[in-house]
């Protein structure tokens, strides 16, 4: 599928975990001719058109208000970053191929065929400059979920071999090794053992039957391994029958982010199968935004039937455990503000959970201006953080986030998404910023009242 291989090594120095910048970019994968790429893109755009997407694509008024909601447009004033423009090719294909008047569009040539130049240009618009944060979906007077359409448009781009170099490599590695960072089951077990020793915590691994299956993201395993210990501490304190599984531990889903439905499905099924195997009642997702979207809201649809277990984000689990008294925390004497991961709060509906947790942790929780559902994205979601060439744009966008955080004047900044966290870390380094992003879960783990249960 790809012409680049084996030239990627982890960049262990960077504040975000990623591969080193490619010496030669290969933003086209495979050796397809232009016509074939166009056909692939079009065919795989077309697969996504159903009643919901069709009504969205037919309903746009071209009012342009989505531009005012998009951080990329707000910060650059570049009209190409108008969200609905990002799906222009997708929309055009719909009108030509499947829409109610497609016959006339084709007959009269009303919508220009998509060209290879278009597709190449749109790679930048669909990947580098969209974090699928969904802010635009909230401003749209027609109620069109533009972010959802971007995700679908990526399917066509992937099949046409037009994914940005790094994102494609990461996704490919995830498909091949089960982890975008190449973390093998053995390596995961090693790091879990290390953390068990380091933090003196019992970490059940590969238990045959358990009520709760806990999973992690590679970003945490590699960069924030203390998360493994924190997860264990909390689940142990709550008295859960739980386990990690080496046959299903990776929560990230780069198949989804890069636009390959098959890889997306494979990644989700791995977790689902593991949970089913141990008879789990609950699968607790780690601090990862897109993992929540992938499994909580799309997992069952990959599975083809309802899941036989509950899927919870760790913040939801924590809120539930604290609210029911399963675990208890000491109050920290600090003011805290919270960065909402888009896929968990705005698009996932779990906005309140983190606030419940924070209110247990501090008497001085400070909501950011526009906090909660209208939160500005970290700028790194949707796979953008992996794309090196997008760094200048991403940093530019991060300014909005910095203003938002600074206005709270809070002592601590936490979030519940490792992807946001590495995006913050990277931007912090870039700007020499004061705030360091912390983890909500780790903060809970650090302040557990041991005998409180």
């Amino acid at each position: 599928m790809t012409t680049v291989d084996g030239r990627h090594e982890l960049d262990r120095e960077a504040e975000r975990l990623a591969y080193k910048p490619p010496e030669i970019r290969h933003d086209k994968q495979g050796d397809m001719g232009s016509d074939e790429r166009i056909n692939k893109a079009m065919h795989n755009f077309v697969k996504n058109f159903n009643t919901q997407t069709a009504s969205y694509l037919d309903g746009c008024l071209h009012c342009g208000m989505c531009a005012d909601a998009c951080h990329f447009h707000v910060r650059t004033d570049d009209p190409r970053y108008t969200p609905i423009w990002k799906i222009e090719l997708f929309k055009r294909t719909y009108k030509r191929q499947v829409g109610p008047f497609a016959f006339f569009y084709r007959l009269l040539g009303l919508k220009r065929q998509v060209t290879i130049e278009d597709l190449e240009e749109w790679q930048h618009l669909l990947y580098d400059s969209c974090t699928v944060c969904g802010r635009c979906s909230l401003v749209c007077p027609m109620g069109i979920d533009i972010a959802g359409l971007v995700s679908m448009a990526r399917h066509g781009m992937f099949k046409a071999g037009l994914v940005p170099h790094e994102l494609h490599e990461v996704a490919k590695k995830a498909a091949e090794t089960g982890s975008p960072l190449g973390i093998t089951p053995d390596k995961f077990e090693d790091r879990a053992d290390w953390m068990a020793d380091e933090h003196d915590v019992e970490i059940p691994m590969d238990v045959d039957e358990a009520d709760v299956l806990a999973v992690m993201s590679s970003i945490e395993i590699q960069k924030y391994p203390q998360s493994i210990a924190a997860t264990a501490k909390i689940l142990n304190a709550a008295g859960e029958s739980w386990t990690f599984r080496t046959d299903g531990f990776e929560a990230t889903n780069f198949g989804m982010l890069s636009g390959n439905p098959e890889w997306q499905k494979a990644a989700s099924l791995k977790l689902i199968d593991a949970a089913v195997k141990i008879g789990a009642k609950t699968l607790v997702l780690p601090e990862c935004g897109h993992a929540y979207m992938a499994l909580r809201w799309m997992g069952a649809n990959m599975y083809g039937k309802p899941l036989p277990f509950k899927v919870m984000h760790i913040s939801e689990y924590l809120a539930d455990a604290l609210n029911t008294g399963k675990i208890k925390v000491k109050k920290v004497d600090k003011s805290i503000t919270y960065h909402d991961p888009c896929q968990v709060s705005r698009r996932g509906g779990a906005t309140q959970a983190a606030r419940d947790v924070l209110n247990h942790l501090t008497g001085d929780f400070r909501e950011m201006p526009l906090g909660g559902d209208y939160n500005w994205c970290c700028g790194g979601g949707g796979g953008v953080v992996t794309i090196k060439r997008a760094d200048p744009l991403r940093h530019r966008v991060f300014k909005l986030k910095m203003d938002q955080v600074e206005q709270t004047e809070a002592d601590e900044l936490v979030s519940s998404c490792a992807n946001c966290r590495q995006s913050f870390d990277d931007s912090q380094q870039h700007f020499g910023w004061d705030y360091t992003m912390g983890s909500l879960m780790e903060m809970v783990a650090e302040n557990l009242e041991e005998d409180g249960s």
């Binding site: 697969k47 191929q97 499947v98 829409g99 016959f103």
Partner: protein
Amino acid sequence: MKRTPTVGEVLRAKGVSRRGFLKYCATTASILALPPSMIPRIAEAIENARRPSVIWLSFQECTGCTESLTRSASPTVEGLIFDTISLDYHHTLQAAAGDQAEAARHAAMVENDGGYLVLVDGSIPTGNPGFSTIAGISNVDMLKETVAGAAAVVAIGSCAAFGGIPGANPNPTGAVSVMDLVTDKPVINVPGCPPIPTVMTAVLAHFLTFGAIPDLDKHGRPMTFFGTTIHDRCYRRPFYEQGKFANTFDDEGAKAGWCLYKLGCKGPTTYNACATAKWNSGTSFPIEAGHPCLGCSEPNFWDAGGFYEPLSTGNFDSGEKLAGAAVAGVALGAVAAAAGRRRQAKFTKEG
């Protein structure tokens, strides 16, 4: 050819004073809707105008137009105009009958060749010439013969102007209007069912005063009287703008004299002078009497929708065809969706 006396001479012979003449001119200006500043010019023109010869032909008509014209008993100021014209043939009004009458017509035609006026009321049947004849002459033939030497033709009433009732659907006699048949002479239409008497006399007064036909609109009607709509000059217009309408003929709105639009008033599309000239010696006009305007001075008013249907009502068929359109929409939508799905299936297979 004997010299016809001027109007001034006629009036003086009748013992009308200069004051009376000025009063007459003022009234004429009023009839012609000319500004009072025109009175001196009118006076001068009328003073020296000569009596034109007029031949009146009646075809498929009800004599309502003649009734309207003669409603004001002589001597009136309007009546004076008829004193100043030479009505040489009018088979309702003239004393002569039969051959004598026809002889009078021919005499007038010969004597005033190229200078006389022909007034026509009633429409002309073309289906069968036998449908309407006078003295054994079909209407078409008599019209053509009489008009040949005329200066102008005045079609009095909606039948002569546009076909009227005889010409209404299904038009059994094949009735047509004067202007359908007369194409080589100026035709002035004075429609109305009947036309306003002063308007009829005003057309004659204009011809008399200025020796020319007045400015006409696209339907051949004098702009002076048919230049604005009933609605434009209706005293109930403010109620229209305020949205105050009579909904039935006996509701409070009707009693309060509100706008009759909802009861089918055709005032907005009807060009006539009723709202200002009024009827029955200036007493009132239909809307003032509480009835919507029927639009009688407009072409084909009999066939232009119901009298009591509001103007803005569309001429829709029943809902059945709309339902048919809906069914067609469902079918087209289903076909389009099926085509879309087929394309999706094909593309999915092709990958």
